[in-house]
Symmetry: C2
DNA sequence: ATTTGATTTAAACAAATGTTTAATACTTTT
DNA sequence: AAAAGTATTAAACATTTGTTTAAATCAAAT
């Protein structure tokens, strides 16, 4: 039942299905992905999808929850690090997310659309994240930062600005390159530049 | 004859279908929207969809192209206005897009995912926009602005920053409210504040 | 009033889709 | 080696889905 009888260095059938499902769900969404496509992509018999995961819906919920974890887990370890300054956390955040989303361009779209459906696991993961983020050392460091810079605006603006400047350019990469007919490498270089520029800009904004 | 029927009689069958299709495609995507859903939502017989639009695919392409126009047309008139300063254009851009995307929260997601599919009409619209944006008075005003502020970075960064700070917070509205359990009105107020804050921040960034 | 053409309808169609079944192969336990 | 449990398969299944058909209704032109 638990499929742990595999030879250690082979990929289990269960995992093969998940790898294919992850790829297809993130690319084509829930409705755009057909169970037969998942079977073909993973090279398994279609009945095994239901054998291991009960239904396409259940499989999707597992994949969606894992995507949310992928996106937020590393973020949390950055925020919670007691031994790094707020400036260092900011740099780390930008660097980590540019790299993560460069190698996984559909992750953000997938998490956003998954969060719009009713998925209790996803919702509880997001709530968990919220609580831990508020309790993190980053939160107290920000209060100090706001005092020093005499910031009157909501701390949410600060967070929104960091995330917006970092993540949005990765979301429109394809739109940009398609519509504007630009060499992918040029845009990639711009994204690399932003790893250093965004922390600088954020400071400039606080002083404005 | 009641009021509802009169209103319905004013709208052609073709337009009724497009209104329903626009709503459903933007909400559920191409694969998530079923032709019978469109028929039910618009109150027409399902055969009329194919009678007026040949296929679900053709209908989708029309809706997608119109969405791209909705998003970029007003932007272009702002950029091309010879009688407004670059600062005024910036304020106008932020204000217009916050309002537009507040009333049409799915528009961005829809345009982004539409641009990922192969749709010649959408692609040519995006290329048109590119050419006109480069030729606009905004482009020459930016060159002047970059000189005055001794900006060494690519002008693309400047544009990316404006669009990121404006648009991204609207894209994650639902994720934010869901995961963070926040009153929708509070977030709406934050978005209103950003109409004034973003132009201020952009200036601060240029001086950093 | 009749004819012509456009619009609308219920029903039918074939293909696709998610899921289940029942038989077969493979592993582990006894 | 036999039995029991697990994994895999081809085929079947009931629905759903996009599209078409052929008849009916309506509007305008002759």
């Amino acid at each position: 039942m638990n499929g742990k009888q595999m030879i250690e260095n082979d990929v289990s059938t269960e995992e093969k299905i998940k790898i294919a499902a992850r790829k297809l769900f993130q690319e084509k969404g829930f409705d755009g992905t057909k169970t037969r496509d998942i079977a073909k992509e993973s090279g398994i018999n279609i009945a095994l999808l239901n054998y291991y995961f009960r239904s396409k819906q259940k499989l999707f919920e597992i994949i969606a929850a894992e995507a949310v974890k992928d996106l937020f887990f590393n973020l949390l370890t950055i925020l919670e690090n007691e031994d790094s300054t707020i400036d260092h956390k900011l740099s780390q955040f930008v660097e980590h997310h540019v790299d993560l989303l460069k190698s996984n361009p559909n992750l953000i779209h997938f998490v956003l659309s998954s969060s719009h459906e009713n998925n209790p696991t996803v919702e509880s993961l997001l709530n968990d994240f919220k609580i831990k983020a508020i309790q993190s050392s980053f939160a107290s460091q920000y209060i100090q930062y706001a005092k020093e810079n005499k910031l009157s605006e909501s701390p949410v603006h600060y967070l929104l600005n960091i995330v917006s400047l970092t993540v949005f350019p990765l979301m429109i990469k394809r739109l940009f390159e398609g519509g504007f007919d630009i060499d992918p490498k040029i845009y990639d270089e711009l994204l690399e530049e932003r790893k250093i520029l965004i922390p600088k800009w954020i400071k400039g904004m606080s002083e404005a």
